[in-house]
Symmetry: C2
Subunit: 207 residues, 2 copies
DNA sequence: GTCTATATTTCGATAGAC
DNA sequence: GTCTATCGAAATATAGAC
């Protein structure tokens, strides 16, 4: 691949990252192609040269947001230099860092919103990229079950108890983005530590 | 209050309920005043006779969605005909029925989206109507703590572990609204029962 | 690959008759 | 209280020069 090809890839990725930030802040319908072009410092027509339309650009944003996370979780699951409990703890920290650091927790809400306009998008990502993240986390928990450390009654519910509070924290951050009292109303570190501790307690095998 | 007044109240409530359903399905920016008027079988100009603008109509939808829930939870907390565990269990069922029955779990996502356009809305409802629901649930849990049945380390995290999975389930329903495999991909009853059991286990005092 | 200019539709909101 | 008609702005998307 030559220099031009690499630059094209970089440019495309730059567009996707900027677009994702705009979608996260203003929603799918609330983000215009003009606003994205403005944030990139380019003209709207130039944006349409890289992506055929708004829907395609949005799908690219979802792929970008979730594909990387999936692989990072799998790398943690494969790291046998840690105990299973440490692997799970590291994976949960990774999820919090990614979901809150880039406000990626708004993505499920965005997809739910866009699903009314782009029918295929909902099932495609619930059963695709979401399922991959679920599987990566559950793989670590299955390691703990095999080792006799963990016990899980309801796997589907556990997934919701892992991702639900993280997604809700991200939405709350967005909700309070214009508030000066955001830090006191939503103590993120406290919620994060408490969430991790309650999760660990919930799956730790007793006896 | 005369007949005309009552009809006006009813008409206003009818508009709010229909609007809320439209906002939930298509998002704040994605829902036009024309679409709401069409769903009501009236003209757009008639809609503007009842509400001065889209923002005011949206705020009315949020109030309608959350004010009733708050009072129903408080009624459960005050019912001493049940054990504390049964009160909490009933309150959680009430939350699931309301949040999933009317897809009210999309409201936090809607408010997060609208917060970028209506700056006051985020803090107002996080610190207002949300906080009232949190307090109503925590009041029941505090009854259990006082009775020696429950023990809670991190109250903020517990609130996220109660509402997070419910909100996420509601968003997933929206996400899969166009899917024929929704029931198998998202077994709502299974998730609900598992969530309740894990919550109960997490706050039950041991020893 | 980026630009200016524009086509077409839809948006929130209003005026005024009835 | 509901309607028809309409305004100005902004939306997605395209045409075509450079």
């Amino acid at each position: 691949m030559g220099v031009e090809g690499e630059q094209t890839v970089t440019r495309r990725r730059e567009i996707v990252l900027t677009s994702a930030a705009e979608f996260i802040r203003s929603g799918y319908a609330g983000t215009s192609m003009s606003a994205i072009a403005r944030a990139l410092g380019m003209q709207k027509a130039s944006l349409y040269h890289h992506f055929p339309g708004k829907e395609d650009l949005f799908v690219a944003c979802i792929d970008e947001a979730f594909s990387g996370t999936h692989h990072r979780l799998e790398a943690i699951a494969a790291d046998r230099g840690m105990t299973v409990r440490d692997r799970l703890n590291t994976a949960l920290d990774e999820l919090y860092d990614i979901y809150l650091g880039r406000e990626m927790g708004m993505m499920p809400a965005l997809i739910a919103e866009a699903a009314a306009r782009i029918p295929s998008i909902g099932e495609q990502f619930f059963d695709g990229l979401f399922a991959q993240q679920d599987a990566a986390i559950m793989a670590i928990i299955d390691q703990g079950i095999a080792a006799g450390d963990f016990a899980v009654d309801n796997r589907k519910a556990l997934v919701h108890m892992i991702f639900g509070p993280i997604v809700m924290a991200s939405m709350s951050v967005q909700m309070l983005s214009g508030s000066t009292r955001a830090d006191s109303l939503l103590p993120l570190d406290e919620v994060r530590q408490g969430h991790k501790q309650m999760l660990m307690a919930a799956i730790t095998r007793r006896g």
